[in-house]
Structures are given as structure tokens and as C-alpha cells.
Amino acid sequence: MDNALNIQNVSRRQFIRGASASTAVFSLQCTIPLSALTVAEQAQAQSGSALNLFVNIAKDNTVTLTCHRSEMGQGIRTSVAQVIADELEADWQYVNVIQAIGDKAYGDQNTDGSQSIRRFLTELRQFGASAQYMLKQAAANFWQVDISQCEAKNHYVTNNNNGRKLSYGDLAELASAITVPDANQLTLKKPEQFNYIGKGLKSLDLDSMINGTAEYGQDVQIPNMLYACLKRAPVMGSTIAKVDLDNTKKQAGVVDAFTMGEHSFPVTFNAVSSVAVVATNTWAAKKALDALNIQWRDSEYSQYDSQADVQTKQQMAENGKSKRQAQANKQGPKPKDLTELTATYTLPYLAHAPMEPPAATAMFHKDGSCEIWSCVQSPQAVQRNVAQRVGLKPEQVKVNVTLLGGAFGRKAQPDFVVEAALIAKRMGQPVKVVWSREDDIQHDYYHTNSVIHHKAQISRTAGLYRWDTHVAFTPIQSLWNINKDIPNKNFELRDIIRHNFNIDKMQTHAVSSPAHTRIGWLRSVANIQNAFSIGCFMDEVAHALKQNPLAHWNHLLGNQPENSKLKNVTNRVCEMANWQQRDSLPEDEALGLAAHHSFASDIAVVSHVKVTGNKLTVKKVYLSIDAGTIVNIDRVKAQMESAIIFGLSIALLNEISFKNGAVEQSNFHDFQVLRINQSPEIQVDVVKSTDKPGGVGEPGVPPVPPSIVNAVYAATGKRHRSLPLNQFYTV
């Protein structure tokens, strides 16, 4: 604690320095560098009294809490409010939440990596506790007693000498003048004292989502606004050879039409080469655009064929045309009865397909500054990227974050906001850029296709002795450097190196896999292919050794302390699914198991399938999770339900393919996602824990697809190593 002695006369800035010092072990990026100026701005923007960046209390007792992370369905606006309100000792009926604009003052706002709670839980609690302290100190000053005589509980401060009470509304103005306490003056609650943390409180956005008033990026309406639709280069790096826009400009409702964008590398978040039609409504813009005949120039990616690409990658991976990335050797004796087992797993490209296609509204103010309204995961990335392309400083770009109608990583890339800013600047008028579903499916930042080849040396007497892995997939770093062709060892390969497994020898190799399209982050990222290949191969090895897959998992996870949670959830889920009695299921039904650690959480899944002839039905999916401390138990369960459906879409249906450099799919008829009539019964188990929190939004996805493939094998004896399974079955 760098300012432990400096208790007197601390500013708000120093409070935060204290807070960040205490959480620095977590991550340096998670600090919220609050400046006094920002507090003033926030205070002016609201009618009540600002006690800090996150807490504002009005005279009528209303507590307005700020959520600095984007809401995309994970329930973060409610969870952030629960955390602050708990330490604040606020009465939940008075709590509402507002969305922060993009501002460095909030620290990292990039809502990705399942990190909102695990990074910010302690700091948010401190903000709540700090405001509670100030309310108590204000009451103590008013009653002229020591703060130790005052108690804050459920929206009131009580004077313990005489039982008198003052409400938070009464105290708000006085409290706002109190010196912000140093972090080490704050006493945070013990878990057994929590009022809201851990409870399954209803979402604060429930009413607006149900009555249709919730505002998403697609819904933004501002006065004098125009609508723009774009036709973008179908192939990466391609540009416009010929287009005639004269007739387009004459169409009803059309205001202007022009070519825009660039084809430069690195691709990052540029507006790609395109034709934009600006009109008085979305339909007019879209109709005029669809009537256009645009001729595109070929680029070096125009020959790309993803089917051929997978075959090439497979040959390279299976023939060891790869570079070693990691290895581990233990000093066990080499068994004499070793045999070899190999398998190659392939996954196609995947699109995010959030229900809300991307949309962004931009306008330029008279002072030259730009204002944005959009459904974005990272408002500060929007500030930087827009500023750079329209010639402003990031702080001259104000980003209002709407609700996100799903994102799954897509809306971490601000390319669509850059388009809106460029067009609004050109038009001198507010413009909303509306992406269609076709735009969304064909111009995504895709989850890379992948080939993973596993080679094991196994022994009847000693089990799995040696495990070598050769991976072939494109790194996300290719967005910034098109020549990057090997996944990042500390990111995309981290979860496949698996040196925590109880195995004597392991090596991980990577095949050169250059980019042919824009690669991005999709819910759980490389864990999808890593967990798929590991989860399936574990099952293959278990069967080759004639072992119960559960026993095999238990053996490989061993007694290593870092594996204890994964081992626990694996055994819990098997108990829940009646795993040991699986032989008593009907002939055409079976269970499949997979487990995976990612985003600091441990999750195991058992899937129950029925295969009748060509028809595959997923009857039930069981999931057990240990995510440490839980903030909202109902939203954690909802995220697991969500991850199961998302994982089933990957296992059964999702595929993006490229031909002549362009995506072949265009809408939900050919990029299929799971529907309600295909969805199974779900049973979720959440381990009770007071341990530090893990991620929740993403880690449920990876173990789902391998559990399905393993169940299909158990039911049919057929081992499938490529997804989606609708290439083999009706689902």
C-alpha cells in the first residue's frame, strides 16, 4: 500500500491509487484511474450528489450506479449494481443503473475475456464501501459524534447512541462534501454478510426488454438522421473496379451514393472498400444498394478455398510440417508395451451471428467533435479507432454505449462504427449505418478454421505415456500483421499445452497458417478447437485403453492442486448424469463426457444423445461449474444455459466456408444456429465457493461439442472428428 500513512487530506485520486495498489496483483490494467475532473463532469451530468465515479445519490433516495462494462446478455449491469449496492448498504428498490460513456477514467472497459467480475469485483466493492463510509461520516458530523457510533444499513445511517436515523437521500448532499476515504480505511464485508452478492436478483433491464423500450444500437434515432447501407468487398483486399451510381442517386429516398473505404493492410478495424448508399430510411438505402451491379478487382485472396485449405493443413499437421512451441518431460520409466494412437480434428470457420446485426450512429458537433451511439464491447477502442480515421483526438469522440443485442466477440471490433463516422463526416449530418444479416454473416471477424492432430503413445500397463499435438489455425494477431501465421503461445495455445496433465512427455507444435480473411475473437476463442480436440482424444485414448472415460480423466488430472476444481466438477457432473449407470440406457442412447478449464473457471459437461438411424437428438445436457465467488447465481446459470446452446450450434450446425475468396453463406438458412425445437433439457450445477471469481460468459462453451461427439461414439461406435455433425446426421 503506497499511501498507507497518508490517511489525512486524501483526494479522490488518491483513493483510487489506494484501491489500485490493493488489487495490483490481479492485473495492472484493471485499475480505475479516477481523475478529479471526471468526477466533476459526472456530478454535473446528474441531478443527485456524486460520491464517486460509480455512485450518485439523489434527495429522494434514488441511488444511481454506473456500469462501465457493456451489457450483451451476461447481466453485467445488474451484477455491477449488486456488488456496489451491497457494500453501499443500499436498499435494492432504490437502485438503478446507467451506462458509462467511453472514458479512460473507468479503466479497462473492453468487455471481453469473461473478465468484468473477476477483474473488478474488489474495486467495485471498494467504491460501494467508500460511498457508504462518506454517508456515515456525514451523519457523524451532523450528529457531532464519532463515526464509530454510526451504522449504515439498508439505506439508513443509525446513531447507535440514541437510535436516530437519517436516510441516504437526506445525507447525500452532505456526504458529497466529505473527504474520500483512503482504501485502507474501508472494511469490506465478509461473505456471510452479503445482502446481494450471490443472490439471483432479477435483471434491472427486464421491464424495458419485455415491453420493447430497451434501446439497442439498431434502435438509435436522433433528429435529422440519415440511414446508410453498404456493400463491402466480398474478398479480403479486393477493391471496386467499376460501378455506376448515377441511377442509384435517383432512387426514391436516396440522398447520396458513393464509394468509400480502403484495402490497406494491416486490416485491423478499417472500413473496407465498399459502396455506401445514404437514404431517408433503411429500406430505401438497402433496396437501391441491392439493385447495384458492382465489379470487384481480384486480390491475392481471390483463389482462396477453405475446403482445400483444410486438406493442406491436415497434411502438414499429420506429417509434422510444424514448429515446436512447448514441451514437458518428466522422468518416468518408458513402458515396453507402447502402441501409437493418432487422430486429426477439424473445425470450420465460425460466424458470431448476434441477433442484432452491427449498427452505429455518428454525428459531428459544431465544435468538430464526434458523438457515437452504438452497441460496442469496447467504447475506448471506438474512441481510438474513430479518432484516428477522422482526424480527431480520442477524447473528442464521445461514445454512448447502447445495449448490445448479443455480441459474442463481434462487437469488440469497431469497424462498423468507423464506417458510420466516415459517412457522417462526409454527409455533415447524423447517420446510422445499418448492417443487414447478409453483411453480418459475410463480413465478420471469423473464428478461424482449425486442424489439430494428436499423436499418443499408450500402454496397457502404464496408460498415456506421450502426447504430441500439431495445431494448424490462424492467429488473431494477423489483424495487425498479416504475416503472423502461428498462434500465440500465451493466448491461443495456452490451453492446449496442458502441462498440468499427468503425462510423462508432451510436445505442442504449430503449422504455418496464414490469414485469408479477418480473424477475430469468438466466445471462448481458441478454447473451442483446443477443448474439442482434447476432449475427444481423451475419450479415444480411454476407449483404446478399455478404460471408463471418467476414470481416465481422474487419472490424467491426478492429484495436482491446480486440477482439483476441474476434477471436482467432472465427478459432480457425472454423478448428476448418473454416469456409472449409463449402460442401462436404451440401445440407441448414450452419454458423453468432456471437461475444460478456461477463463479461470472449471467446467465439465455430460451430454445425453439418442441416435436413431440418421437422426441425432440431444436429449439432455448436464453441466457443473466452479467459478469461485458468484455475484448473481441466476445469471451464472443463464450463462451456462446459453453456453450449452451456443456450443450445440457449433457441434451440430455452424459452418462458414470460402470459395473464390468469398464467404458462401449469407443468412440463417445456410448459416444455421440452434432453434428451440432442437434444444435439449438442461441441468446446471454451480459449486458454492468463496474463492476468487472466475469467468462465466465464455468457459461453458468449450466442453459442449466434445461431449456430444463422445456421446455419439458411445451410442453408435462411430467416431466423428470434424464438425458440424449435420454433415452426418439430421439434427
Partner: protein, 163 residues
Amino acid sequence: MKYTLSINNRVHQVEAEPDMPVLWVLRDLLNFTGTKFGCGKGLCGACTVLLNGQALRSCSLPISAVGDGKLATIEEVDRIAEYKKNAIAIKQAWQDNNVPQCGYCQPGQIMSAIALVSNNSRLDKQAIKNGMSGNICRCGTYARIEKAICSVAGVNCKEMESK
């Protein structure tokens, strides 16, 4: 062309091209943004509205086809006499089950559910699944949607189990 539309029992005059889908009339011309744009091809159900008691995908319904039909949208469906009872019950069931995640598809889900419950006196679990299969939820709230509709339709839906 000038059109006179009945939306939520109120008369609205709009000027639009005859092929303009009701979705864009609602969203861009009349500011009823509760009806969502999801696919534009009638594949996802996010844009579902009620026309004379039937659930329709407004993205594929040209304004010229509406005639004197009565449209209902998510914003006021629970105030219209013929839907009121089921609309209030469905919305309450959505509350009780904390159904939405991102929420974007939910107006369409709710409109489809209201039509399903209103137009079918006898439903079972499979009929509910079939009836709702035109509405995609990418967040995967299906288990809760099913439970919510079962509770309104009086179908014995096995509780979602959780420890």
C-alpha cells in the same frame, strides 16, 4: 404512396413505397423500435408482429399487403382487448422466469408466444417447441421460454433442475 395503418388500435398515416416492409415502416417512419430487425428474410422471428391475430414476420410483409388489417406491436399488445389476457400472462411469465439475456429477440419471441397461446386451446410441450421454432435466440434462452409458455398454457413442463 399514402397508407393509413391501424397500429395498436390507433390510426397512423405514412407515405411509403408499396414494397416497403412493415418492419421498416414501424422502425424508421413511425419509431416503433420494439419490433426488431434480425434477418430481413423471415428466418429468425425478431420482427414478429400480430396482424388480425396472426403472428407475422414484418420484415417480409409489404405495407401494401396490410390493407385495413389491425397490427399489434410489442409496445402495446397488452393493452389491446383481444390479446390483453394472454399478453399480460406471457409478459409476466417472462418476468417470473427472468427469460431475456441480451433481450434483442425477446419482443419477437413474446409476440409469437402470445399468438401461439391465443390461437391454440390445447398445447403440449412439443406443440410449444414447434410453434416457437421460427424464433431464433442466439443467447439460448430456449429452456426458459419453454417453461414460461408452459406456465401460461397450463402445460406440465418438467422443472429445470438446478442444485
